[in-house]
């Protein structure tokens, strides 16, 4: 299960570092954190191309949920800009 351990560790490290970096930059908008976390999650999952097919399909499902959240946030922001 070494590849799973590496994947979970990479995910935790990269998500942790990106959130700490945003917090250090003084970012206070939660949607920015969610968008960045989504991107980081998708990139790390893409790098681990050798995970077994069942794991990949389950991780893709989580990825689709995150992309859905990303699209909702993007849509709300677009509606906010257009409504001004």
């Amino acid at each position: 299960m070494r590849i799973y351990n590496k994947y979970v560790l990479s995910l935790l490290l990269s998500l942790g570092i990106s959130n700490v970096a945003l917090a250090a930059a003084g970012q206070r908008a939660l949607d920015v954190y969610i968008v960045l976390n989504t991107v980081v999650y998708l990139v790390i999952s893409l790098v681990y191309v050798y995970l077994n097919p069942r794991a990949r399909s389950l991780l893709s499902t989580i990825g689709f949920v995150l992309i859905g959240a990303f699209l909702v946030i993007a849509g709300m922001k677009a509606a906010e800009v257009l409504g001004r």
Binding site: G16, L22, R28, V49, I62
Partner: protein, 243 residues
């Protein structure tokens, strides 16, 4: 069997679900809410990974592997077969990849006939061109490959990485280089090492067997494991392509 990923996942999801509303509504902190969301995300990922672990335990798999290997080793020892096995692609046999151990010592055998799905097979026209055809760990692992195999070094490397690193978790990396009709396959951190036993001397270690089976299926040609060496947590499998 206790699953550490499920335990970790449930713990992270519970912690994230409890902390997220507190961080958002009480503390009113976006970074802390984001960390709670990360906890939820990694928790769900761990739960997903937990459900992809094998149904039978690694110990049970090892018992099955050991049984098959010892039976083949007993057969080889009884027949005093010391020749190195020739891995034959499924296209040259009955649709299943096999390994033939020639009965006669001497020069490299030339396969002229299709290999039938039997134990004792005739692979050439001469009376002594007879061998034992067996199923190997490599041949049995080929159905686990998701994509079709290609003959290039990078395609073989990709297929072996997927099999050994991703699906079977027997190594951490694979590199394939070829020169003069021979492929050198370097396997980082292999979990099943070569031992000086009859079975391995003839058919190779399970990892070498997988490397040979993938190579012969990718090239569509018979191959033979020329040598195996382990050095500094890296195994090198030398595979000779037989034209």
């Amino acid at each position: 069997m206790k699953n550490p990923y499920r335990t970790l996942g449930v713990g992270l999801v519970a912690a994230g679900a409890l902390f997220a509303p507190v961080a958002y509504f009480v503390i009113n902190s976006a970074p802390l809410t984001a960390m709670a969301i990360v906890s939820l995300l990694v928790g769900f990922t761990c739960i997903a990974l937990a459900s992809t672990r094998p149904y039978i335990s690694p110990e049970a798999s090892l018992v099955l592997l050991q049984t098959g290997m010892e039976n083949i080793a007993a057969l080889l020892e009884e027949l005093a077969l010391r020749n190195k096995a020739i891995y034959v692609p499924s296209s040259m046999g009955d649709g299943k990849p096999k390994a033939i151990i020639p009965l006669a010592d001497g020069a490299t055998p030339v396969l002229k006939n299709r290999v039938p799905g039997r134990l004792v097979v005739r692979y050439g026209s001469r009376p002594d061109e007879v061998g034992i055809a067996v199923t190997t760990p490599g041949g049995a692992s080929l159905p686990l490959l998701r994509n079709s195999l290609g003959p290039g070094d990078s395609q073989i490397e990709s297929a072996l990485s997927y099999l050994l690193v991703g699906v079977l978790d027997l190594a951490t990396g694979v590199t394939v280089t070829s020169q003069n009709g021979q492929l050198n396959i370097d396997i980082r951190d292999p979990r099943l090492h070569w031992e000086n036993i009859w079975y391995y001397r003839s058919l190779g270690s399970p990892i070498a067997s997988m490397a040979a089976a993938v190579t012969c299926e990718a090239l569509g040609k018979p191959v033979r494991i020329k040598g195996e060496a382990v050095n500094n947590r890296q195994a090198r499998v030398e595979i000779e392509v037989i034209d």
